[in-house]
């Protein structure tokens, strides 16, 4: 990036909001994935006007602009793969409006998920996606990745809650999409186009979210299984039983083993555990649902089923699953969190594939999953300083994607494509579909300014 361009940027945002210091460039070189490249400069933006001016400058001077929230993305998303400017959205962090009557929250993109949650709590409302990174990730990042979480089966993901957006288009024009009405059939659903677009089509500067009343009661149970497929069958039966558990999480034997070795805990190393939560407004409703879930666990050969009678007991049942994230990262010095999703009925088969691939490539792949919506996270743990392990990891991932896509699954349930899965886009999407995605990108961003290199759009 030329010095005069840097000077213009500095002028646009002010000294305090511009940096090209080495420490910032390094800190901005990576997100939660292994992809890494230094940008040439970074700015903290304060409003859509600044975003617009910067994008106009970028089009004149032809430098890439990479919007960035908290940088927790797991697919090589907010990474300046070909240099350029990191546009840090995190100082645009005002909650502009919470309107319970209209059931909406209007936020700036830099608002942290947990901060919105805290603000909604006194009203008895929530924004359900609940990603595990909620303490730090931004709502702009959630929109751009279509983030999900453990409540997907019952409550859906981010896309089900985004009603309207203010977006700055790649050439600098500021537009509004959608409506704050609960229903609208007016025109193309441009809002959905931007949700999950990974910062490649526009910079989101305001988000109108639908918010949900939070059911005050919940019940929790945990079941152990000696057979992964039996656990899978239980999941599938629960999901078509008419009951929608608010949470239905799975962890496999390798996962339990990792938690035990890393934390010194003593969870039974069964083939799989399932943790279920049902929620509701009355105890009767909540317990009724849980009873059905427990019956189905038993019917499908659960070795043991425990139901929590108190909050503490519920926490104990959650302990193994909650420890997984931390424990998996400590098995070795690197963890590649995969994010496959399969149709509900294929969960047992997908688990079998993961276990076969783990054996074939001699890799530890503990797995957790949002079983209730078919979204599995096989986590490949390796020593990244050993080139052979890195090679095996890449080969294993490629085979995994192939098999999952072959059974009607998708490359990513909630983390996105980014750089990590760009090479595999054609595995999942037909040529015509990819061509349409690329034409859209070209029409909206003719100079390929916004987050280039992601989602296989350049090809």
């Amino acid at each position: 990036m030329k010095d005069d361009v840097k000077a213009s940027l500095r002028e646009l945002v002010g000294d305090a909001n511009y940096t090209d210091q080495l420490i910032d460039l390094i800190a901005y070189s990576k997100d939660g994935s292994e992809h890494r490249h230094r940008p040439d400069a970074a700015v903290w933006v304060e409003d859509s006007g600044q975003v617009s001016e910067i994008l106009k400058l970028a089009n004149r001077e032809k430098f890439p602009v990479i919007p960035r929230g908290a940088g927790t993305g797991l697919a090589g998303l907010a990474v300046a793969q070909s240099g350029g400017l990191i546009m840090d959205m995190s100082r645009m962090n005002a909650i502009r409006e919470i309107n319970i009557e209209d059931r909406v929250a209007v936020v700036e993109p830099g608002v942290v998920y947990a901060d919105l949650e805290r603000a909604l709590e006194p009203h008895g409302f929530f924004f359900p996606p609940d990603p595990a990174s909620g303490k730090v990730c931004t709502l702009g990042g959630n929109v751009a990745t279509n983030a999900g979480g453990i409540k997907g089966a019952k409550y859906g993901t981010t896309k089900d809650y985004v009603m309207a957006l203010e977006v700055v288009l790649p050439e600098g024009r500021v537009i509004r999409t959608g409506s704050r009405c609960m229903k609208t059939s007016s025109g193309y659903d441009l809002t959905r186009l931007f949700v999950g677009s990974e910062g490649t089509l526009g910079v989101v500067t305001e988000i109108t979210l639908k918010i949900n009343p939070r059911p005050p009661l919940s019940a929790t149970a945990m079941a152990t299984f000696d057979d992964v497929e039996a656990a899978g069958r239980a999941v599938s039966e629960i999901m078509h039983s008419g009951i929608l558990p608010s949470v239905l999480e799975l962890m496999d034997r390798e996962g339990l083993r990792a938690v035990n070795t890393v934390t010194g805990a003593d969870f039974p190393e069964v083939e799989a555990i399932l943790v279920a939560e049902t929620d509701g407004y009355t105890e009767e409703e909540t317990v009724y649902q849980m009873k059905r879930v427990v019956d189905i666990f038993k019917k499908n050969g659960a070795r043991s089923v425990k139901r929590a009678k108190s909050r503490e007991e519920a926490e104990a049942l959650w302990a193994a699953r909650k420890a997984a994230g931390g424990a998996f990262t400590r098995i070795n010095n690197n963890l590649f969190v995969e994010d496959l999703s399969v149709p509900m009925s294929r969960v047992p088969e997908a688990l079998k594939v993961i276990s076969e691939i783990s054996g074939k490539y001699d890799l530890r792949i503990p797995t957790v999953g949002h079983a209730g919506d078919g979204n599995l996270h096989p986590c490949i743990s390796i020593d990244a300083r050993d080139p052979d392990q890195v090679r095996r990891m890449h080969e294993a991932s490629a085979e995994l994607y192939e098999k999952i896509v072959a059974m009607g699954g998708t490359l990513t349930g909630e983390h996105g494509i980014g750089l990590a899965k760009a090479p595999f886009m054609s595995m999942e999407h037909e040529e015509g579909t990819l061509a349409l995605m690329r034409s859209l990108k070209r029409v909206m961003d003719p100079n390929n300014i916004l987050n280039p290199g992601k989602m296989a759009l350049d090809g």
């Binding site: 940096t19 210091q21 080495l22 420490i23 910032d24 390094i26 800190a27 901005y28 070189s29 990576k30 997100d31 939660g32 903290w44 908290a70 940088g71 927790t72 840090d88 995190s90 100082r91 942290v112 947990a114 990174s133 303490k135 730090v136 994230g325 931390g326 990262t329 400590r330 010095n333 690197n334 963890l335 990244a384 300083r385």
Partner: protein, 376 residues
């Protein structure tokens, strides 16, 4: 091939264990203030990874981040990968200083301690009108901040000890010098020897420290092993006070700030609360308390080197105090007291005290209004 750094031998592996999840963003006080990723633990670990890979040098350019860490350990306590960030930062600072790179404020601190007895370079200690260096059951060790900056709090603490008829003595204390190791230098053996000699000369079996940092230094640094070997126990004032009963109460709304050195670093969460609960039925916790407590911004040399940010961090903590509607903010570290009291805005009407100081005030008021139980 470059020579391996010292920090690399011990922490090379850990630096790579940072999975760059960014969870430290939620808890780092420096990041909370600046929203600058280069200043939180993930940024620091990425920078160190590049240093280890030879893509960045341990140079002046890194001072702003590697010397701007309060070592409050909020990140390491919450790190899914178990990266011990404060220890890594301290080790890196040693390598930096070793190769001639240092923040001027820290270099200044080292020079001052080469020539003077305390971090302020003031050679006339307050004598608090009490005999020093006499034989006694306890030594009360004040610490630099309590001696030279928060002498009012210290005076009141001593008056409390007098009231309780504790057989204690002050000594000709000098800086424990532990802080030098945090900012890239070695501890000062002369200062260590002077403290050890003075303590042992009193025949005391217990040292009570007013400062949680001195407490950690005496208990954890091998250079002070002579104390343990001589059978001298070192406790913090909050541990000493917890066993007393008080017949004074306040109906004010009281809250408590956990000092990082006392809480996350030492695990002393309960003792201060035991005392507070006895005297303040209207005790409320801050939104972030115990292991979640947000640093006041004073630690790790940040107050000296990055004063404006240090005060701004204290202000953020004080906003939490406002949010719970407290009349009194208690803490148990003179350094926190100093930073928080300095940062307090005029419109913030609550008062800031150490627990001992507040207790002494309650007792004073009870004396002028004999029989009064609801006081202060």
């Amino acid at each position: 091939m470059r020579q391996p750094y010292e920090f690399e031998k011990k922490f090379g592996d850990q630096i790579y264990r940072c999975s760059s999840c960014g969870f430290c963003r939620a808890v780092c006080p420096v990041f909370g203030l600046t929203s600058r990723p280069a200043l939180n633990a993930r940024g620091k670990m990425l920078i160190l990874q590049e240093v280890l890979e030879g893509r960045a040098e341990l140079s002046e350019e890194l001072v702003d981040t590697l010397f701007q860490c309060t070592t409050c350990a909020n990140c390491s306590v919450h790190c899914p990968s178990g990266v011990e960030v404060p220890e890594i930062i301290k080790a890196v600072r040693k390598d930096m200083v070793g190769s001639g790179t240092c923040h001027p404020a820290f270099a200044g601190m080292k020079e001052i301690l080469d020539r003077h007895t305390n971090i302020y370079g003031e050679d006339e200690p307050e004598d608090f009108g009490r005999e020093r260096n006499r034989r006694a059951e306890y030594v009360y060790f004040i610490g630099c901040v309590g001696q030279y900056r928060e002498d009012e709090a210290t005076e009141e603490t001593l008056r409390l000890l007098d009231r309780l008829e504790v057989d204690y003595t002050l000594i000709d204390e000098v800086c424990c010098s532990g802080v030098l190791e945090d900012v890239g230098f070695q501890m000062n053996q002369d200062l260590v020897d002077r403290n050890v000699r003075a303590i042992l000369a009193t025949g005391a079996k217990t040292v009570i420290t007013g400062c949680p940092y001195c407490y950690r230094t005496f208990n954890n640094k091998p250079r002070y092993a002579a104390l343990k070997e001589a059978g001298v126990r070192v406790i913090h004032i909050s541990q000493f006070l917890k066993d007393f009963d008080w017949d004074v109460r306040t109906d004010k709304v009281v809250t408590y700030h956990d000092p990082c050195d006392l809480g996350r670093h030492t695990g002393i969460y309960e003792e201060p609360r035991e005392t507070i609960r006895k005297i303040a039925p209207n005790f409320v916790e801050l939104p972030n308390a115990r292991a979640e407590a947000v640093c006041c911004g004073a630690g790790g040399g940040v107050r000296a080197a990055f004063a404006a940010n240090s005060i701004a961090m204290a202000r953020k903590r004080l906003e939490e105090v406002e949010s719970v509607g407290a009349d009194v903010l208690l803490t148990d570290c003179n350094s926190c007291l100093h930073n928080l009291a300095n940062a307090k805005l005029r419109r913030q009407k609550f008062k800031v005290f150490t627990i001992a100081q507040f207790l002494n005030r309650l007792l004073d008021e009870a004396r002028v209004r004999p029989g009064a139980k609801e006081v202060a």
